[in-house]
């Protein structure tokens, strides 16, 4: 083999490479068109160069020299060989990493089984503290980054959701408006129809309740909203706000609040009417005045 020739060239390898550059370039330029876009990592000769040395006997001899005695216990080596099921594509990062992961996981399982059968401890107890490879400061950084990433993801999701809900709300609103318009139209229509019918019949059946009922069957259009709010006077537009916050000193009053209190339309007098709640509200009668009355009475008695 060409061992003796290459001996001298080991340490000035730069020179050695220069020698080869010329014929290498020829080889590469043949396949130039395909390999143009290749990454730096992946450049390889298309076919093995025939000058490469492979001294199998030498390698095996060296292996014999170097390797530990045959009967060395596994515990000294801790090595596990794992079969790779199929060829892995190097350029597919995910698959490659997954194969490494499964290799490591499978290996760990086997190793742990062996260790367990030997009865050796292999898991760190939670109260065993010792120096770690990465410092706490570094791990803190890692944690912060993870949290930040999570937060970012959450925020993005929220934004997306808000956008969607806005879209939906718009649609619903449009539909509602449409419906309302439709209802109004129908009502007008029905009134017209009723009037026409009455005209046709020559105002004969003046008290033709049946027809009337047809028009306003449920009486919906005349009835006010049937949401009855407790503690709210009939004319109060603020929905009881005045009464709630009336005694609570100076709060900043918004425009809508002031409108509701001082009126922006609506009946005023009804605000002062009692409702069942206000009559039952006995807060105004406090005990302090009672006591005072007693005193007075006493004084009178003395005098």
């Amino acid at each position: 083999m060409g061992i003796s020739k290459k001996d001298a060239a080991l340490f000035d390898e730069d020179g050695f490479e220069d020698e080869d550059v010329n014929d290498l370039n020829e080889e590469i330029s043949e396949s130039e068109s395909e390999s143009e876009s290749e990454d730096e990592e992946d450049v390889k000769l298309a076919e093995p160069s025939d000058k490469a040395i492979y001294n199998r006997e030498g390698l095996e001899e060296k292996l014999q020299d170097v390797s530990w005695p045959e009967n060395v216990g596994w515990i000294h080596k801790l090595t596990i060989d794992i079969d790779q099921e199929q060829e892995v594509d190097v350029n597919d990062d995910l698959k490659r990493e997954a194969s490494f992961y499964t290799q490591a996981l499978e290996g760990t399982r086997q190793a742990f089984e062996k260790l367990q059968s030997m009865g050796l401890p292999f898991l760190r107890p939670p109260d065993y503290y010792a120096e770690m490879v990465k410092t706490d400061a570094h791990m803190e950084k890692v944690k912060r980054r993870l949290l930040a990433e999570q937060k970012e993801m959450q925020e993005a999701e929220e934004r997306k959701k808000a956008r969607e809900s806005k879209k939906l709300a718009k649609e619903i609103q449009a539909q509602k408006m449409k419906e309302r318009a439709k209802q109004k139209k129908e009502e007008i229509e029905s009134v017209k129809k009723w009037r026409k019918q009455r005209q046709q019949s020559g105002f004969a059946g003046d008290v033709n309740d049946g027809e009337l009922d047809l028009a306003f069957k449920d009486g919906k259009s005349f009835e006010r909203s049937n949401k009855k709010r407790p503690g709210v006077a009939p004319g109060d537009r603020s929905g009881g706000k005045v009464r709630q916050s009336g005694g609570k000193g100076k709060k900043k009053k918004g425009k809508d609040f002031r409108d509701s209190k001082f009126g922006f339309g609506g009946r005023k007098g009804m605000k002062k009417q009692n409702t069942a709640d206000t009559t039952n509200d006995l807060r105004a009668f406090n005990k302090g005045s009672n006591v005072a009355g007693n005193k007075k009475r006493k004084r009178i008695a003395i005098g």
Partner: protein, 314 residues
């Protein structure tokens, strides 16, 4: 039951731990201390194997920061290594390195050689008398990267997993043996810790050796023991570093000697860069050439005069 088990385990663990500490604090106490120990052991059971591997880790001058960090990571992974100063890589590197290894009483060496601030070569050598392997290192990720979220005990012994294609060929076998000896922590090393919480994965894909380091996380229950089903719930978290080794040559001696193996597919990064440059440089010349060729073509096959050219002129 549960409590009892816990006690027994902690008891079993502590003495070993104490031993570690005491030896670490007073390594020089030779009268009773560790120097006697191996001899006693040898006499106890003659021919017993004891791994006394020591690895010298060093790098060349003008190394890149990224590669330096990689080296430091490797140092933190190998409790049985000694880090040394940078070595001038140019001339007579092999001789000086051999001397250095001997001086430090190490048995193997990892030498990170950086060229042109770009290319990292890794030498793995057994020291007094070979062999040594030279790798090109690619795809380096250091432990400092925040993507790698795992962490493990410093100095716990790693499990080494190899893909089965290491047994395919003689040179892979040799490399595997070297890796086992250099990356495996000796069993009773004074700096090693008694548990196993990380695993190295060496895998050959595309004729490169890929290295990964994972932390092993097993869900603990109160008794500190793995539940029998706990091994199924085991997961791995990557700790780093990551790198990919492309073997270039195997030499018979340490940092020299006869070449036993040469990677037939290897192209040095220098050549790749030169080629790229050449391709880029050819751009203008190509353009000029194309232009002249076009001109020549037009001259040789001139267009016939168009007979309908002045038809609509009037």
């Amino acid at each position: 039951m549960v409590k009892k088990r816990k006690h027994s385990e902690t008891n079993a663990v502590e003495p070993a731990n104490k031993d570690d500490n005491s030896t670490e604090e007073r390594p020089k106490r030779t009268l009773l201390g560790w120097k006697d120990k191996p001899e006693v052991k040898d006499t106890d059971t003659p021919g017993v194997f004891r791994n006394k591997e020591k690895v010298l880790v060093t790098c060349s001058r003008r190394i890149n920061f990224r590669y330096r960090h990689l080296m430091l990571n490797v140092v933190s992974l190998l409790p049985h290594c000694k880090k040394d100063n940078k070595v001038e890589s140019k001339s007579s590197k092999g001789a000086t390195l051999n001397e250095l290894v001997e001086l430090k009483s190490c048995s193997s060496c990892l030498f990170f050689e950086c060229r042109k601030h770009k290319d990292l070569y890794l030498w793995m050598a057994k020291c007094p008398n070979g062999p040594s392997v030279k790798f090109l290192v690619n795809a380096v990720h250091t432990m400092e990267e925040l993507k790698l979220t795992g962490n493990h005990l410093k100095g716990s012994r790693p499990l080494l997993t190899f893909s089965s294609n290491f047994d395919k060929d003689a040179h892979w076998k040799l490399i595997k043996e070297l890796i086992v000896q250099i990356f495996g922590t000796p069993k009773e090393h004074r700096k090693c810790k008694p548990y196993h919480d990380h695993v190295f994965a060496f895998s050959i894909v595309d004729d490169h050796i890929w290295f990964r380091n994972y932390q092993i996380t097993v869900p603990h229950n109160e008794s500190d023991k793995v539940a029998r089903g706990g091994l199924d719930k085991m997961t791995l978290v990557e700790v780093g570093p990551r790198f990919c080794l492309n073997p270039i040559k195997i030499f018979g001696g340490s940092f020299g000697g006869p070449t036993l193996y040469e990677n037939p597919f290897y192209v040095s990064p220098n050549q790749i860069r030169a080629l790229e440059k050449k391709q880029k440089a050819g751009k203008y010349a190509k353009k000029v050439k194309a232009k002249t060729r076009r001109n020549m073509h037009e001259l040789t096959n001139a267009l016939e005069p168009d007979e309908f050219a002045d038809m609509w002129k009037e």
